[in-house]
């Protein structure tokens, strides 16, 4: 160590004479970056305590002992638009091109619990995802896609219980018992209040729905990931990498505590919790973030929540490359950005990956753009060799120092959240929302002032740029068709049965029973998503955002 120190001083003297470029050397999140990292920066590093082996505590190096040598990550492109028919075609297209899992994007009315013919749905049907009103639509969405063969991820939060029940009932129609279903519902309501802001009910009943899902899944849908605790949206709302890490894990701890408070054994539901992170453009910061996340989760689950099952300690995660890092200017550059971000996710040990399409900053992706995005993953997996070695950056002075730094900074946030009375209290105090808004504002300022360079936006601009990529447009006719469909359904189904089942759900919601079996009965009777949510809305009320501006 002494010898290194002496040599370092010598180098510093020499290096000090050289002039650096006139920019702030910091990560994309604003953390200062040294010019060089040496053993000095990780002097207390303890291999067994800080790294261990892949598949072993504290899992810094990965959740499986052989990682991608055993099985590559799942290539799971997020897709859905227009109606169930169109999306069903897109899924078949993606499966044909070699995608290995499905990921459903719902439209805004579905996400907010409105049927397609609700006045608030006007102009939004099928725009940013697929419109799903009832079991009829869900059956169409998965027509000729055997649910015992694919795993499906569904991006649904406030109405997650309803969409999940629709999926379970679709399985029943296909003759697939719920025990065989595999997949994930995002079901992360806390991050909705914090960042994504597609809430319906207030936090307390929302948390009850989630613990109801934990309980039902443990008995009847054991292979299902019941929550995908999501940092992705926290980052997209403008947070730093540290905020994404800290707020996401804090949400995770809150779900664990809610489960324990609901009387469940931590090892009964914790193995089914999964995570969802963003992969932004700062390569090393992102890799360090994933490594720190695994280590923090394992330590907390073991030490604080007393989990005994090793599976409860594993932080498994899906990654999506950063939508907010893409630019509308020179959109083809987004292919390159996405490729670097995808590589960071893989070097960080992700279990599943969505690579953004170059045109997502402009509209929903075209088939061509989606194919390039998927090919980006396939090139990464089969040509670059990065999947051959587990956690190849371990031991890098920079990566280890940055991983430690991430953990330290996250711990500071955990203390602050604790001091404020926990996640729900901090949401109520607008703490997260304000921290993220500040970070977003600083980031935009840095770009405006050219303290941060964005190629094609504030530097290397093409003054004569003309957009020459194809854009997917959604025909307004789709909305009309979907509205007709849901109205026809309401005319033709057994409406007496529907109102009976909705009444039973209302009674359950007013009491303390698990609501999932009642929701399942409603969807089997072809009650619409909007009707089920409206029933719950009448019991639980709606969340109102506190003004932060």
């Amino acid at each position: 160590m002494e010898e290194i120190k002496a040599a370092k001083n010598e180098w510093l003297a020499e290096r000090g004479k050289k002039k650096d470029r006139d920019i702030n050397f910091e990560t994309v999140s604003g953390m200062p970056v040294q010019d060089l990292y040496t053993p000095d920066d990780i002097k207390d590093f303890d291999y067994m305590n800080d790294l261990g082996f892949p598949g072993s505590y504290p899992y810094t190096r990965g959740v499986q002992s052989n990682m991608y040598r055993g099985r590559l990550w799942t290539m799971r492109q997020f897709a859905g638009f227009a109606t169930a028919e169109e999306s069903n075609q897109r899924y078949k297209y993606l499966l044909e091109k070699g995608q290995t899992g499905l990921s459903v994007a719902f439209d805004m009315p579905t996400i907010m619990g409105y049927d397609s013919d609700h006045p608030r749905s006007l102009g939004e049907v099928g725009r940013v995802g697929v419109a799903i009103d009832s079991l009829e639509d869900m059956e169409t969405l998965f027509r000729d896609i055997p649910l015992d063969k694919v795993s499906t991820s569904m991006t649904t939060n406030a109405p997650a219980a309803v969409l999940w029940c629709l999926y379970i009932a679709t399985g029943e129609k296909q003759g697939v018992p719920s025990e065989k279903l595999t997949g994930t519902i995002q079901n992360d309501i806390l991050k909705e209040y914090i960042a994504q802001k597609s809430w319906i009910f207030p936090p307390e009943p929302s948390m009850r729905l989630i613990t109801n899902i934990f309980e039902y899944a443990a008995k009847h849908v054991p292979k299902w990931n019941t929550v995908s605790i999501s940092g992705y949206h926290i980052r997209e709302a403008g947070s730093t990498a540290v905020q994404e890490l800290a707020f996401t894990l804090a949400d995770g701890f809150a779900y664990v505590e809610a489960g324990i408070e609901a009387g469940l054994n931590v090892d009964d539901f914790a193995p089914r919790l999964s995570f969802f992170f963003n992969s932004h453009i700062d390569f090393f910061e992102e890799i360090a973030k994933y490594r720190a996340a695994r280590r923090i989760w394992a330590r907390r689950m073991k030490e604080k929540y007393g989990a005994k099952n090793p599976k409860s300690l594993l932080l498994r995660f899906h990654t999506q490359t950063a939508g907010c890092s893409l630019t509308a200017q020179q959109p083809e550059n987004n292919i390159v950005r996405t490729a670097y971000e995808a590589m960071a996710a893989v070097l960080g040990g992700t279990q599943s990956l969505h690579t953004n399409s170059m045109d997502e900053v402009l509209a929903l992706p075209t088939e061509k753009a989606v194919q390039i995005a998927l090919r980006t993953q396939q090139i990464l997996a089969y040509e670059t060799g990065v999947a051959n070695v587990i956690d190849p950056l371990a031991g890098s002075y920079y990566v280890e120092a940055l991983t430690n730094k991430m953990e330290e900074e996250a711990e500071k946030y955990f203390e602050e959240i604790e001091r404020r009375g926990g996640v729900l209290a901090a949401i109520d105090q607008n703490f997260f929302q304000q921290e993220i808004a500040d970070a977003a504002y600083q980031y935009q300022r840095a770009i405006d002032k050219k303290q941060r360079i964005q190629v094609g936006v504030n530097e290397f601009i093409d003054p004569d740029e003309e957009l020459d990529i194809e854009i997917l447009t959604i025909d307004p006719e789709i909305e009309r068709r979907q509205v007709q469909k849901v109205q026809k359904l309401r005319r033709e189904r057994n409406n007496l049965l529907v109102s009976d089942k909705l009444d039973a759900l209302r009674q359950a919601a007013m009491g303390t029973e698990n609501m999932i079996p009642y929701i399942l009965d409603c969807v089997r009777a072809y009650a619409t998503e909007g009707e089920i949510i409206q029933t719950l809305r009448e019991v639980f009320g709606e969340y109102k955002e506190k003004p932060t501006f």
């Binding site: 009315p109 006007l122 102009g123 940013v128 597609s198 900053v361 402009l362 977003a440």
Partner: protein, 133 residues
């Protein structure tokens, strides 16, 4: 002293992406304007009512959900119905170039700022398009 420019920053429709709206709201306030932010999930009716009540010079609509071709015209119609079409409507968000053109040509938006626009550009545009400055 000149009257300050008053701006309503609004999020119509169902999407929850308010990063842009908040950044702009704060930037306009820092640039010396009086800014009201409606919060999320607003109907065109709520927005127009707020705009009239707050007596604003400009309404800035932020939309990422693809519903812009429905929501911009609706806000403009309602402003007109309420005799408030002297209020300038501008917008921002994920809006394809062809739709930007259609909205401007149809008189549903005086200007649309798509991703990558600097705050300074927006501030300058507001200054040169309002009387109050």
């Amino acid at each position: 002293m000149a009257k300050k420019i008053r701006v309503l920053v609004a999020k119509p429709g169902l999407d929850g992406h308010d990063r842009g709206a908040r950044v702009i709201a704060r930037a306009l306030r820092d640039a010396g304007m009086e800014v009201v932010y409606t919060g999320l999930h607003q109907t065109p009716e709520q927005i127009v009512e707020a705009a009239i009540q707050e007596d604003v010079d400009i309404v800035g609509l932020s939309i990422l959900s693809g519903a812009h071709m429905t929501l911009f015209p609706r806000v403009c119609e309602l402003l007109k119905e309420n005799g408030a079409d002297d209020i300038i409507v501008m917008g921002g968000g994920t809006i394809p170039e062809a739709d930007v053109k259609a909205l401007k040509e149809g008189g549903y938006a005086a200007e649309i700022f798509t991703p990558g626009t600097t705050i300074e550009t927006i501030v300058e545009w507001i200054h040169s398009n309002t009387k109050s400055s």
